[in-house]
């Protein structure tokens, strides 16, 4: 049930505070269908919050988060079979279910909703695991994995749902440069095969340049600037410049 037109994400004047601490302060952001947007920003600026809001896991205090016009939290409560499109999320801390093996984690969505069983299920899960080089770990439990392996299992779990929208929170934080490059390739491949909308939060500018169409900087509760990836190195906005220079890209 791949969508022809893809999924557009819109955040309009979104505010979000925890207690009396404002995190997002009237944030506006649009992600076009089929676009890969990378969000960068200093630690604690609200990048993970932005993804949780986009996934409909939390509601904004004010403003709107829309997925093809549907409020994200409404979308979240539609049952799997009735959802107009699929969305998957890779959490910063992986968030694998500790009681399930790697295979079972990756198979959970397909099995739970009766979308595949038997050999078919096996093949879909192993395809996802192979794409992140984790096929040998299928029977291990999350506690037996390294941080990078857990992250890759979480990525496989997201890919196995064949999503139309994919939200990545720091996908490369625990990966070595080789694995990061391979993940970038995987993302580019699925991106061109399906018209997937992808939002990636990362500090890894090398990775960002490989996968992104556009790069946005989150600062002080708003999107301070966003540039096409080709223009990144010429960007003049000082905070963005600081990021680029710190990453020694220019």
């Amino acid at each position: 049930m791949q969508l022809k037109e893809g999924v557009r994400i819109e955040l309009k004047h979104v505010t979000k505070a925890y207690g009396d601490k404002p995190v997002l302060k009237g944030l506006n952001l649009g992600v076009e269908a089929g676009e890969t947007l990378v969000v960068i920003g200093k630690s604690g600026q609200g990048k993970s919050v932005l993804l949780r809001l986009s996934a409909g896991l939390e509601r904004p205090d004010s403003g709107e988060v829309l997925l093809n016009g549907i409020p994200a939290d409404t979308y979240r409560n539609i049952s799997a079979q009735k959802k107009p499109f699929r969305m998957a999320m890779v959490f910063q801390g992986s968030a694998l279910l500790n009681s399930l093996s790697v295979f079972e984690n990756v198979a959970l969505y397909l099995k739970e909703h009766g979308m595949a069983k038997g050999d078919n299920l096996d093949r879909l899960v192993m395809d996802a695991l192979t794409s992140v080089e984790l096929e040998h770990a299928r029977d291990l439990y999350p506690t037996e994995l390294s941080g990078g392996m857990r992250k890759r299992a979480a990525i496989a779990r997201a890919l196995a749902t064949r999503p139309d929208v994919l939200l990545f929170d720091e996908p490369t934080a625990e990966l070595d440069p080789l694995l990061s490059a391979e993940l970038a390739e995987v993302i580019q491949k699925i991106q061109s095969a399906h018209k997937m909308t992808i939002v990636v939060v990362t500090h890894n500018l090398v990775f960002a340049r490989q996968v992104a169409d556009r790069i946005a900087l989150l600062e002080d509760g708003r999107i301070a600037c966003s540039v096409k990836v080709g223009e990144l190195l010429n960007a003049e906005y000082p905070p963005l410049r600081a990021f680029i220079e710190a990453a020694a890209l220019a």
């Binding site: 896991l57 998957a88 959490f91 500790n98 959970l108 969505y109 739970e112």
Partner: protein, 270 residues
């Protein structure tokens, strides 16, 4: 002088505030528990789909509680006999069997086993769900459209509600046999084991055992819902996992005792 006065005022406010806060906290937990209970009942048609998980939970609860429950029931049975016999000194000890049997099946079996279950299984459930909440496993389940009530709560709810009555029946048997053992070995007791069982048979009705087990069904269901609710309330930070664990046990104890009274009262009407 003024400073101490102000301090006292502040303290008395503090006391009232903290009482108020506890009451609100209690009401909040109660409300959320009812909410989760209704949602769990709403997912009952998924019981066949969760049969495997339910069985796993039952085994887990059984194995975590069986040894201690044997121990507990055995000594409670003996204590009942020894204490009652002492009270009956000078009267006839003939009634020992019925006293032990009724106390065990109607009251001590259900309540003690419910406390034990809250301490072992309830705390484990609260810790498990709190951990899942803190490490965003619950959020991950939601992004996979897996329902928390059907996938996580329902199996624990059904398993606890089914296992506790069985545990109670088991404790009844052990307790009554332990009572007989005390009758046999204690020199201060002047009735025979035969007379003990004879008296027990004469007064203990099948319905007493069933009522005790039915209490277990309710206590088990209540403990499971409370423990899951409290576990799911955890937010960020690992310290919330340990506080959820103790909180689940305390709240289960309180609620079980209240329900025990309600059930006893209702049963007496009929």
């Amino acid at each position: 002088m003024q400073a101490t006065e102000r301090l006292e005022v502040k303290n008395s406010q503090g006391l009232l505030t903290s009482i108020g806060r506890s009451v609100l906290y209690g009401l909040e937990i109660l409300g959320q528990s009812v909410d989760w209970a209704l949602r769990t009942l709403g997912s009952f048609r998924e019981i066949p789909k969760r049969a495997g998980l339910i069985l796993d939970e039952m085994v887990r609860i059984g194995t975590s509680s069986l040894f201690i429950s044997s121990f507990l029931a055995f000594f409670i049975g003996m204590v009942l006999v020894v204490q009652t016999a002492d009270q009956l000194e000078g009267y006839s000890q003939e009634v020992l069997g019925s006293i032990v049997g009724l106390a065990m099946t109607k009251e001590l079996g259900p309540v003690l086993m419910a406390f034990l279950l809250a301490g072992r299984a309830g705390s484990a459930m609260a810790a498990e769900l709190a951990t899942m909440q803190v490490y965003e496993e619950i959020a991950a389940l939601r992004t996979l459209d897996v329902s928390v009530e059907s996938y996580l709560i329902l199996p624990k709810f059904i398993a606890t509600a089914l296992t506790l009555p069985l545990l109670i029946l088991y404790a009844d048997i052990i307790g009554i046999l332990a009572g007989a053992f005390a009758v046999a070995i204690d020199p201060a007791i002047h009735v025979s084991v035969n007379a003990y069982f004879h008296n027990l048979q004469a007064y203990l009705k099948f319905s007493d055992i069933i009522i005790g087990m039915a209490k277990g069904l309710v206590f088990g269901a209540v403990t499971a819902i409370l423990s899951c609710t409290i576990g799911l309330r955890a937010r960020r930070g690992t310290e919330e996992i340990s506080s959820a664990t103790t909180s689940a046990v305390v709240w289960s104890f309180i609620t079980v005792t209240v329900f025990d009274y309600i059930i006893a009262r209702v049963v007496l009407i009929f």
